[in-house]
């Protein structure tokens, strides 16, 4: 745990734009998928990221609380169909994060 914190701080210091929210691989995956898909439902997302329901749900709540995704609850017949889409803020944060990653690669070279 200690080592992880140390690492994240050293990674973060020289570069602005790296977002702590995206340190989780699952959250990063969700954002990547939502960047290129208008909207996606829970099951498709689960299938693509290969995670458990509970795990994915936790990360989705986190992303929503940060204002990066929006949730739409709909129905297919009687079954609920919850879909997720990226917000403007989410797009910006994600793009900044990618730029920061690219800068890191350039910087270390």
């Amino acid at each position: 745990m200690k080592e992880f914190r140390f690492k994240s701080i050293t990674l973060k210091n020289p570069i602005t734009g790296l977002n702590k929210v995206f340190e989780s691989r699952i959250r990063l995956g969700v954002m990547s998928v939502l960047m290129v898909n208008e909207e996606i439902n829970f099951n498709d997302l689960k299938e693509m990221l290969q995670v458990t329901d509970g795990n994915l749900a936790t990360h989705l709540v986190n992303l929503e609380e940060n204002g990066f995704i929006k949730i739409h609850k709909g129905f297919i017949g009687k079954k609920t169909n919850t879909t997720y889409a990226i917000t403007k803020a989410g797009q910006k944060a994600f793009t900044d994060h990618i730029t920061a990653l690219e800068n890191m690669i350039k910087g270390v070279k």
């Binding site: 990674l11 998928v33 990618i98 990653l101 890191m104």
Partner: protein
């Protein structure tokens, strides 16, 4: 140093992979379906008139001349090509308009992949049908068109809005019905390429595009 550099590279690779795997061509417009359907119905209407004249000539003369039959085939070929061209251009335009509105490129890896996967069954079907015509198996042209087109749509559904799969299933079923009821080719064609396209297009438009 090496390790530090590797981590962001891997992350970026992950992101890229995720995006590619998950992406589909999402700009396909429902209005394209409606436009294609209208073109098909106009085509069927004209074809029906041509056929009416053809049988009218038969009734007044009392016999079919081979000359008139070959003229009929040419008329149908020209009509088919014209309907296809107009339907393609109008559908393309409406989808292009939607892509522009969404700020998405019309020709990127998703549309390229989509085009390729549609074209493989479609071109196969086209050549197959040309072969049929060569051997005068014309009663099977309409069913073959429907079946190959349906297969193309089912294949396409993996690379664009998934709903198009159901349109594909309907076209395949119609084509197979037509195979065993060859006399109704024109009408089944009208349902498959006309009515179904329009119904599908309206549903898609309501689902994804209506603001």
């Amino acid at each position: 140093m090496e390790d530090k550099n590797q981590q962001p590279i891997d992350t970026l690779k992950d992101i890229k992979h995720m995006m590619e795997r998950s992406s589909r061509f999402v700009s396909l417009s429902g209005l394209s379906g409606v436009a294609a359907g209208i073109c098909a119905l106009v085509g069927v209407f004209i074809a029906n008139n041509i056929l009416g004249n053809y049988y009218g000539a038969f009734n007044s003369k009392g016999f079919f001349s081979g000359d008139e039959f070959s003229k009929l085939k040419i008329k149908f070929a020209v009509l088919g090509a014209a309907v296809f061209t107009v339907a393609f251009i109008s559908s393309f335009y409406l989808t292009w308009r939607k892509a522009k509105k969404q700020g998405l490129p019309i020709w990127d890896h998703t549309s390229r992949r989509l085009a390729w996967n549609v074209l493989v069954p479609l071109i196969t079907g086209g050549i197959f049908i040309l072969g049929m015509l060569r051997y005068d198996a014309w009663p099977f042209v309409a069913p073959a068109c429907l079946v190959f087109y349906g297969l193309a749509l089912v294949n396409a559904s993996k690379y664009t809005l998934n709903d198009i799969r159901y349109l594909g299933y309907c076209e395949i079923v119609l084509g197979l019905i037509n195979m065993f009821m060859p006399g109704y080719g024109l009408w089944i064609w009208a349902v498959g390429f006309g009515v179904l396209h329009i119904v599908y297009g309206i549903i898609m438009w309501q689902k994804y595009e209506r603001v």
